[in-house]
Subunit: 347 residues, 2 copies
DNA sequence: GGTAGCACTCGATGCACGGGAGTGCTAATT
DNA sequence: AATTAGCACTCCCGTGCATCGAGTGCTACC
């Protein structure tokens, strides 16, 4: 630990104290005083010595205190240091794995959306944080099969099967009834010409690929071309992201302040900020952690996020939890990772 | 007004005072004192007289005060009396109609779910209350057309067109790949035998109607029969109800108390209570109003609800708003009614 | 019946006070 | 030179207390 921690220029003792203060604060939500640390950390150091160490840590920007004569509280930088170097255990706890498994066991999923919804719920329940899972963007998914089905005199349902089992269905309006055999003819033409392409490719080149068909109903072809941005869009579901756990996360003491409570409700109702921050997570295969001031958006300065990408075939989504910065990183990071892996393998 | 109000045994003057207290309390959220009423109600009565009247109203259970020496506050019975007899104007305000119209105008809806979702949102925005709209139960809807589409080697999508334009699609799992022509054969058999029946009829009599088909893949027939409860269920969408406006409703001063705020969040996350109360609204064509203690469920004792049924063809759903009992009934009842009517005509 | 007056109640507000937890500094100790 | 003990100081927070204002209920009077 020493070697790593000294990236931040910390002595072993400083690192131990910082670690303990952060753990303590995460557990109790109260500023941590020198006396407590001195007693609980068995280094036989008096409170006074601890105070000196804590003062040093404060100089380095890792701890702060809300006011003179309160205990110490980690700063964003302190949490960052903790997450980068002082944390331990990158494996989910057995009991947590068991919890997840039992919740998933006797479920029958038929669509990927069901799985995602369930995972969002489990994630919020186990973490007591806000759980966010973005629906996978399917622009990179390859079209396996397309089907056109008349559902009423003026509407046609388009069903896209995408490789690795995702199904997207869209209803779209047509001017007049299209005979079934025309739809079938069109569908097989589309299958022939578009099968195996990614949706993005289809979107970009659709006109070139189908204008010259010999279908005797050019109007429907035009309609499809016109609607192609919607039909072959990246979005599987108009709800771009599933959210769960408002009730869970608001149990934390930081939300006994009604202003904060109000704020997080608005955050959730708005969705835009959340969708944006989920998108902003890079494509790295790893778990991404963002703490307070590390967010671009000022509305999120009081929160932390743990996010991980998952992939269903070549469609990629993100899963994350958001909650107070005082978050049990040790336990939650492996959990997010675990569920992301589950999602990637579930089909 | 007198004639009606005296169902409650009220004199004209009492009725006027009650009406004014309730309006005032709805507008300001503060207990209403005798002085205010005396000044604002131009009956040339002194505060002392008003006090006597209010004391009488209190004896009749229509008003109360939170503590000695606070102003008066309506009781549930007071609100009930107001709603039954003292309210006026059953027509939505022009500005509200305009608001709704502009929100709906340039929308392109292709499915009934879209319309419902949009209406839920508009309703919460215009009322500043929690808006709840239940997805229509389609058990009484008549099957117009059924379509079976293979979407992967082991899954089949069933698409039900229900008269009046509702479409329900369900994906279900099959053991092994079913050849397309078998599905088509089965679909036309189903269309022939089930077309025109209500989903409820189909659910109840499906085995009798299709067991004797000559389809050469009896396994799929069995599967359909086994899945029939799900395929032909009353539910259009697994989310039985759309909810919007948590942010809106929590702006009301009653939610500055964090306990109440917490409670309503839990109410929304739970959904069960809400679904149940929406179901409990009778089938009356009219707007139903429920106030505080009139709810069976104790979790709703602090709220009021305005609910109205709507119908899409023969599928019926309910639309409602829930918020503090201190609700602007005059304005909101016509609005709920208006949107219910819109929903019933929107297809 | 309506009104004026008055004592009373109760919540909200502001303030002083004291205890408790914790800090920072200095001087003494090892 | 590092550690520790001691001490003055700071700040939060709960409590008690006096005050104020809105509003009531009652009684006596018009």
């Amino acid at each position: 630990m020493l070697e790593i921690a000294d990236k931040y220029g910390l002595t072993l003792r400083e690192a131990l104290v910082l670690q303990h203060v952060i753990r303590q604060y995460i557990a109790t939500a109260n500023p941590v005083g020198s006396r407590t640390v001195s007693k609980q950390l068995h280094l036989n150091l008096s409170p006074a010595t601890i105070r000196n160490i804590m003062a040093d840590l404060e100089d380095k920007g890792l701890l702060g205190h809300p006011h003179t004569s309160a205990g110490r509280v980690p700063t964003d930088k302190g949490y960052r240091c903790y997450v980068d170097t002082l944390m331990q255990g990158m494996r989910p706890k057995e009991e947590d794995v068991a919890f997840i498994e039992t919740r998933l066991e006797d479920e029958q999923f038929t669509t990927i959306e069901d799985v995602i919804r369930k995972c969002t719920h489990i994630l919020s329940a186990i973490s007591h944080q806000l759980a966010l899972v973005s629906v996978p963007l399917i622009g990179n998914g390859r079209l396996e099969h397309i089907e056109l089905v008349p559902v009423s005199s003026s509407r046609v349902m388009v069903i896209l099967s995408i490789m690795s089992g995702i199904i997207k269905s869209i209803v779209f309006e047509v001017d007049s009834e299209i005979p079934r055999h025309v739809l079938q003819e069109l569908a097989s033409a589309l299958n022939e010409r578009l099968g195996g392409l990614t949706l993005r490719e289809i979107r970009e080149t659709l006109p070139d690929r189908i204008r010259d068909t010999s279908i005797d109903a050019p109007s429907i072809v035009e309609l499809i071309i016109k609607a192609s941005d919607r039909l072959f869009s990246d979005e599987l579901d108009e709800d771009r992201v599933y959210i769960d756990g408002v009730g869970e996360v608001t149990q934390h003491p930081e939300f006994s302040d009604p202003v904060r409570l109000r704020r997080i409700i608005e955050l959730v109702e708005n969705r835009n900020i959340i969708i944006h921050v989920l998108d902003s997570v890079g494509d790295s295969r790893d778990v991404t952690i963002r703490i307070g001031s590390e967010f671009e958006d000022s509305a999120l300065q009081e929160y932390s996020m743990i996010a991980a990408p998952y992939a269903v075939g070549s469609a990629a989504g993100r899963i994350s939890i958001i909650g107070p910065r005082r978050m049990d990183y040790d336990r939650l990071i492996p959990i997010v990772d675990y569920i992301a892996t589950y999602l990637s393998n579930a089909h």
